[in-house]
Amino acid sequence: MSASHIQLDRQGRLLHFLTIEGLTRRHLTDILDTAESLHGVAERRVKKLPTLHGKTVVNLFFEASTRTRTTFELAAKRLSADVLTLNIATSSAVKGETLLDTLRNIEAMQCDMFVVRHEQSGAAEFIARHVKPHIAVLNAGDGRHAHPTQAMLDVFTIRRHKPDFPSLQVAIVGDILHSRVARSLIHALNILGAAEIRVIAPRTLLPAQVETLGVRVFHDMQQGLRNVDVVVMLRLQRERMEGALLPTEQEFFQRYGLTEERLALAKPDVIVMHPGPINRGVEIDSRVADGPHSVILEQVTNGIAVRMAIMSITLGNHARPAGENL
């Protein structure tokens, strides 16, 4: 897809971080390695690096989210950047400024990076195409399309426990249809050479021809979880019941909830992940969420280092004149 054409410069370096699609294994491992070295910052007395001192990062959140916004803010601040957060409510009833006008106004404030979250698929790419060339755009989630920083922190977490991707079987469970987290993670795992990616969901929660993304489809947890190394549970939103995609949360938990019995079908050292926030008793049993296999809180911690890495790398590439090598 041509998002890669604008997220990479002519030397193939990341200028924006819009989607995992089209990136190479090298792109991903560079981010993971850089994140590894940033991981320890949180344990220091001074939890800061001077790297982005003097840079301004703007959080452009067209879709509300406290959790993602906070981690991006923290990541930017730990790199000594100045952070501006703009929560722009979108309501189709209230047609205010066009998106382009909003961008122009913010550009006028001399910023270096936009972190964008929007309810429409393709929004981050749209913004990247329309901003001034010196601005780096990070996609914090666009519609159902992509959530590339989440995918990176997910594979970072996996790599810390199970670094041998070609041997891994990963199961992603739940509302794949609406999930940008799932799509980005599937791309990342494929690029890193995971042995098998499984999606487990009722048919109504699977997008058309989902196998074309490079996954194996299961409708049954007993079969789908057998011998997997990693289980990723997705959040189920209330609206799905209203859209006639599911009858009740109870039935969903009954068939697709991650319980200890179901988890026992996986490998003994299986890790359990969830992008959060978790719905206890809907997609995951409390005992599993809080249990020894769960790395859910680790994901949150890792998210900061990963985002610091991505911010440093993309802004660093913007600074470099073309043609100059390391």
Partner: protein, 425 residues
């Protein structure tokens, strides 16, 4: 005014005529073919050597945005662009603002088109009041006011009972009904439900949204015997359904928009909002079946589905943009590309752009019989041109073929024997 169009290859599919000859125009009518009529003295000669001379094109669906959306385009601007594109008759669907559900609106459009004087504008009246799909519109009055048919204007009637009654009422007055084949409930996406939409995270519109509606509507046609025309098919299965219905003798016709014969879902790459269309661009198998349907005549007309937009309407994330292509300017050249690719012969292409639509509308136009209104298009099939802001005459620049080099350019368009293009104004 006596005009001689000299030495062109005259193609008049209605009469299976295809030969290099002279065409004579007098007093706004076709006066002769081959040899001049008595008393003819050419006051103007158009050198049509190496050009094609055919009936002025008839576009079954073109939105002129007036009344109600003049910030996008106007009757004057769009008919002018149409004339430059060889189109002499445009059919305007009823979804203007206000909707064409009263004679006053029909009259307004007729007057504006006449005063601009670049092309004929025919109107389709609304099937239901305000196109809300609840109460019937005054179809008899609309017919009397000049509507050549009635339709849903792209807003399909969801209530089957209302639809059945609307069809029956229209049939009372011998009106052809122009329907949008789309199930209201399944049509809430922005792209074809398939691997591309899955990858891009775009809500999809399944093929069944179209075929389900067609199947239901065909059953009503079978019951009621009303003449129905399906506007803008997008899938292979739809072509099959219509073909089968036609074979059975049902009074059903259908058309296809030119861009569905060239573009597919993969052209959405990069979330290109110029390819945000309704119906959506589907797969290559669908495109091929639509091409075959046009060639075989199951799809009796090729239209532009012209939908000019102001820049803001397309400059937003994909799902927030308005669908539609500004397609008048590229209709002929893209049609010629199909002929060149061997999809259909040149005379057949011209038929689908002239006589085909005329028959669907039940009008005596789209041909070059002596005595017919001199609506003529002369074009150079070999002329190269680049699609860009300068060559797109419509007010709407939302055309994904910008940057393409196309072949086939209109040199002259006559409207009732007057030079509509190049413009005298």
């Amino acid at each position: 005014m006596h005009i001689l169009i000299q030495g062109g290859r005259v193609i008049d599919p209605a009469h299976q005529f295809d030969a290099i000859t002279d065409l004579f125009v007098a007093v706004g009518r076709i006066a002769g073919l081959g040899h001049p009529p008595a008393g003819f003295k050419a006051e103007q000669v158009i050198d049509a050597r190496d050009c094609i001379v055919c009936p002025g094109l008839i576009d079954l669906c073109a939105r002129l945005r007036e009344p109600g959306q003049e910030h996008k385009a106007t009757i004057a601007s769009e008919t002018r662009a149409a004339a430059a594109a060889g189109i002499t008759t445009l059919v305007c669907p009823p979804d203007t603002d206000p909707v064409i559900d009263e004679p006053a609106v029909v009259e307004l459009i007729r007057r504006r088109a006449k005063s601009a004087g670049h092309a004929w504008v025919l109107t389709l009246g609304a099937l239901t009041h305000r196109l809300r799909g609840e109460r019937l519109a005054e179809m008899a009055a609309l017919k009397d006011a000049g509507c050549i048919g009635v339709g849903d204007g792209g807003r399909p009637i969801a209530n089957t009972l209302v639809l059945r009654r609307a069809l029956e009422y229209a049939a009372t007055f011998n009106l052809t009904v122009f329907l949008t084949p789309l199930d209201s409930w399944l049509g809430h996406g922005v792209a074809h439900e398939g691997p591309v939409a899955t990858r891009m995270g775009l809500p999809g519109i399944p093929v069944a949204a179209e075929t389900g509606a067609i199947a239901r509507d065909l059953e009503l046609v079978r019951d009621l015997g009303v003449r129905v025309h399906f506007g803008r098919l997008s899938s292979a299965r739809s072509v099959e359904l219509v073909a089968r219905a036609q074979a059975e003798g049902l009074p059903v016709t259908a058309d296809v928009a030119i861009h569905h014969l060239h573009l597919t879902e993969t052209d959405l790459a990069g979330f290109d909002s110029r390819c945000h269309l309704r119906p959506p661009l589907r797969g290559s198998r669908d495109r091929d079946a639509l091409r075959a349907g046009l060639a075989s005549g199951v799809l009796g007309a090729l239209c532009s589905d012209h939908q000019p937009h102001e820049p803001d309407a397309k400059q937003a994330p994909f799902g927030d943009t308005e669908p539609g292509i500004s397609g008048l300017d590229t209709l002929l050249a893209l049609g010629l590309r199909l002929a060149r690719e061997g999809v259909l012969s040149l005379p057949t292409l011209i038929e689908r752009l002239t006589w085909g639509p005329a028959r669907i509308l039940g009008l005596d136009r789209g041909h070059l019989a002596v005595g017919a209104s001199a609506d003529i298009c002369v074009f150079d099939p070999e002329a190269d041109w680049l699609v860009n802001a300068a060559t797109l005459r419509s007010r709407g620049q939302n055309n994904p073929f910008i940057g393409w080099e196309l072949q086939g350019r209109v040199t002259h368009t006559l409207l009732e024997g007057r030079m509509a293009h190049p413009s005298e104004a």
